[in-house]
């Protein structure tokens, strides 16, 4: 420690000296003479395909060999590169790691699961055992071969990490609960047959297990690399290695990341060889893109007024849009008076003019949604659509019948990190509610406070968005209504235990038709009969691309995190 301290102090001292020198000369060349010590050195395995400068930094945008670089912006830094430890961001797992399967979007908007690390698979008739063969010859970015044991290790790690955020993705495997409870040291449901063959046995049939294996949450990690890295895994780029198309070459906390192509990658060589992702505020992103220093701009991160006035006009031919498989909803907490009254919740559903919000704030870029599953989600049924209409008079009558002729007071909590369109949406909702006599007070919290209040189950009401992690109704319905605790942590506190039990039981239905029918019935029960939340709309996710980009395929569900392999440069 002492040695490090003096080393750091000497860096500090030299930085001071260099600054004074630079300040006194005033004509120093723009170089990196005063570069500071960071944990952002290139990995030992770093390929040297391209050597771009810090091009999002401004007018000194530089190009690498073959101009195969891509500059993108992030509105906030990532929490961890280790996807097992956070559900916050998926940029690194999507580009540095691989999953056994992956999801691709078809031209008609439907999705298909395709093999990724898996070469082949079969499912036993009882739906319990998955026999998986891995592709031959896959290695991690340091050359370590991928084996079936790494797959087993991955799921054991998800269950045993104290800070694991993804246990829902492994809990279906036989023996998972024992591991989670510390009663077993090995996951008995996974049997490694040889280096490329394994079987995964579930505790009970679980139709969406395969889809879960395509979510970045189940990114496969190497037993040896991860174990050797210890606490540095997910923190230090050169120790956070996967089998994916890129390696992280630097992560400057709070500032951004750089990625380079992994020459050991087993798949098709991507067009983009180097990526710089910089954390920027929305006005900087806007300026940087217009100056040609950004290649992909996420319109979600900009003020909607700027998107409308600048990008939809001057850059209309550069806009790439994807129908987002995400539900915008207003949650109503059944644990609070008078939201525990189903008629009050129904009145709120009727009081909100969703169409005018969609048209005025989002310029109609989306679909009104009347259920739980957004358009494009497996299980989405037209039968459960079209029943909810804006009816303020009806809402007033329902309120009066429920004993609230003069309305009541309620709070809508807002995460300050939301974009301005969401903030405007909440204001319009509050106004709509005021129009029927409900005095809705919008209260803004910083993200940590908002999350804490929501997790405590005591948030009165809030506007939020759920974008699918995998394309299955289970992903959204189970998350909110699959158990009392799932419902509580999202401040929903849905009270009908029989329905909760049905949602949990639906996971085990093997027959696909029967399963989807049950999910449709559950959607009707939850939203139409019990008014568990106010469904609002699903939106298009818009991006703008620069002249350097030939084509760009966003994430199938419209996440802000993108696959760099989905970008073709000119």
């Amino acid at each position: 420690m002492k040695k490090t301290f003096f080393k750091k102090m000497s860096v500090t001292a030299s930085a001071l000296a260099a600054t004074l020198l630079v300040a006194s000369c005033g004509n120093s060349p723009a170089g990196n003479g005063t570069e500071t010590a960071k944990d952002t050195t290139a990995p030992t395995t770093a390929p040297t395909t391209a050597s771009t400068g810090d091009s999002t930094a401004g007018s000194d945008a530089s190009s690498g060999e073959g101009d195969a670089y891509l500059n993108i912006a992030l509105n906030s830094d990532i929490v961890s590169m280790d996807v097992h430890k956070t559900t916050n961001d998926y940029l690194v797992p999507m580009n540095v790691f691989d999953t056994l399967f992956t999801t691709v979007k078809n031209p008609d908007g439907s999705t298909t699961l395709v093999n990724s690390l898996a070469d082949d698979y079969s499912i036993s008739e009882d739906g319990l055992t998955y026999s998986i063969t891995l592709k031959d010859g896959i290695v991690f970015s340091d050359g370590t071969p991928l084996t079936a044991d790494d797959v087993k290790f991955t799921f054991e790690r998800i269950l045993t990490l104290p800070e694991s955020a993804q246990t829902d993705y492994a809990i279906a495997i036989d023996g998972a609960q024992d591991m989670l409870d510390g009663k077993a040291s090995e996951l008995r449901g996974i049997t490694v047959i040889d280096d490329t063959h394994l079987t995964i046995t579930l505790a009970e049939p679980f139709a969406v297990f395969l889809a879960q294996l395509a979510a970045p949450s189940t990114s496969i990690m190497s037993r040896s690399i991860t174990t050797n890295a210890g606490d540095d895994f997910g923190v230090v780029p050169e120790k956070t290695l996967g089998t994916g198309p890129y390696v992280v070459t630097s992560w400057d906390k709070g500032v951004g990341l750089t990625f380079e192509y992994n020459p050991h990658y087993w798949g098709t060589e991507p067009s983009v060889k180097k990526v710089t992702a910089k954390v920027m505020d929305s006005s900087s992103m806007d300026m940087a893109f217009q100056k040609g220093d950004l290649d992909i701009l996420d319109c979600m991160m900009l003020d909607s007024a700027i998107v409308d006035s600048v990008y939809k006009t001057s850059y209309s031919d550069k806009i790439v849009s994807v129908d987002r498989l995400g539900m915008n909803y207003l949650m109503l907490n059944e644990d609070s008076e008078p939201l525990n009254d189903v008629n009050v919740r129904k009145a709120i559903q009727m009081a909100i003019d969703r169409k005018s919000i969609l048209d005025s704030i989002y310029e109609g870029d989306g679909n009104l949604e009347d259920g739980i599953y957004p358009t494009g989600c497996l299980g989405y049924s037209k039968d459960n659509q079209g029943w909810l209409s804006y009816d303020p008079e009806g809402a007033k009558k329902l309120l009066a019948d429920s004993g609230y002729p003069d309305g009541f007071e309620m709070e809508i909590s807002l995460d300050s990190g939301n974009n301005d369109a969401s903030k405007n949406t909440v204001q319009v909702i509050a106004q709509n509610l005021n129009d029927v006599g409900i005095k809705a007070d919008v209260k803004t919290y910083d993200h940590a406070s908002w999350l804490d209040l929501r997790n405590s189950g005591k948030m009165n009401s809030f506007l939020a968005l759920w974008i699918l992690d995998y394309n299955d109704p289970d992903n959204i319905i189970y998350t909110f209504f699959g158990s009392k605790s799932n419902s509580a942590i999202r401040s929903c506190n849905y009270s009908d235990e029989a329905t909760i039990a049905r949602v949990a039981a639906a996971r085990a239905i093997v027959d696909p038709v029967e399963r989807i029918t049950e999910y449709g019935n559950l959607e009707k029960k939850l939203i139409q009969d019990d008014a568990a939340w106010v469904p609002l709309f699903s939106l298009k996710h818009l991006y703008v691309v620069s002249d350097r980009v030939e084509s760009f395929t966003p994430h199938w569900a419209g996440w802000s995190d993108i696959y760099f392999t989905g970008v073709e440069l000119k």
Binding site: A15, D39, E163, V255, S284, M287, S449, T479
Partner: protein, 310 residues
């Protein structure tokens, strides 16, 4: 010497107080690091498990004294969010903040003092009105507004300077001006005021009687006296800039102390926030002591008082 030791003891007490305050505030405000780390899509069980493993469920007093005990041994703990020793993170970030501070201080001091002198030399005339206007803008326009305007003008319109910090000197110019802008305004106003007060002083009459021109008398004799409060302000500004220019560092993407502290607050990263606040409090205390020492050197009256006390 005794006075100096007394000051040092004061610093230690301030640091302890600051520590306790931050600790209490972090307990009062809602928001748990476990929730932030795990993200929105996680489960209740995961949050509970992580809270236990981070020992956040332990009583307040236990957590505080454990922290204090470790801090006394020089161990500021490990960041919840960045999973690295807090001291290393601070010492990594400090050079960037130091560079930014020194450059912006250089800008603020040179520009501020010169503007103040010019204003004082032409009271009520065009240069005075011009610089007074500019310095009023300096103290009244918030730093983010200055930063965004500078980015718009120098990067977007004129393509002269980079938008974000990239390690180069040129990319540090905009942040330095944005951060120093406010200080420059205050310094200019204080210098002008000081010089104009000195211009009325009887000793300058003596200087002029000895044959010096008004301007030379003011600049050689008056400035020396007028500069004393300015130096105090400069030292205070320097230490507060050093303690973390949160907004400037965030806008320009500089991984300095301010950005570190901001991340710590946003993620409720207790060890990291305690570390950055402790470090900042230390730097500010040190800055105050240096300002006092400088004043003693500049002002003979303080020197003799200090000697008398000793």
């Amino acid at each position: 010497m005794q006075a100096f030791l007394r000051r040092l003891l004061g610093v230690v007490l301030v640091l302890l107080g600051v520590n306790l305050l931050v600790f209490i505030v972090l307990r009062i405000i809602p928001g748990s690091p476990a929730s932030v780390l795990l993200g929105e899509h996680t489960s209740e069980e995961a949050v509970k498990r992580l809270t236990e493993s981070m020992e956040l469920d332990k009583p307040f007093a236990v957590q505080f004294f454990t922290y204090l005990k470790n801090a006394a041994r020089g161990d500021l703990g490990q960041s919840y969010y960045m999973k690295q020793p807090v001291l290393n993170l601070i010492l990594d970030a400090f050079p960037n903040t130091l560079k930014l501070t020194l450059l912006s201080a250089a800008f603020a001091w040179i520009f501020g003092i010169m503007a103040g002198i010019i204003s004082a030399m032409y009271p009520g005339k065009f240069p005075d009105n011009l610089f007074r206007g500019i310095s009023l803008l300096g103290i009244s326009v918030p730093v983010f507004m200055v930063a965004l305007s500078l980015q718009y003008l120098m990067y977007f319109k004129l393509s002269l300077l980079p938008l974000m910090y990239n390690g180069s000197f040129m990319s540090m110019v905009l942040p330095a001006v944005a951060l120093g802008w406010n200080s420059a305004g205050s310094i200019a106003r204080l210098t002008r005021l000081g010089l104009m007060e000195q211009a009325e002083a009887p000793y300058l009459d003596t200087a002029r009687a000895k044959g010096l021109t008004s301007r030379t008398a003011l600049l050689t004799h008056g400035l020396r006296n007028a500069i004393i409060p300015v130096v105090t302000m400069m030292a205070l500004q320097l230490s507060s800039m050093l303690s973390g220019a949160v907004i400037t560092e965030s806008i320009f993407g500089i991984s300095g102390l301010g950005k570190l502290a901001l991340t710590a607050v946003q993620t409720r990263d207790m060890p990291l926030l305690m570390g950055t606040v402790l470090f900042s409090a230390f730097v500010i205390s040190l800055g105050n002591i240096i300002a006092d020492l400088l004043n003693t050197v500049l002002d003979p009256r303080l020197r003799s008082r200090a000697e008398a006390e000793a």
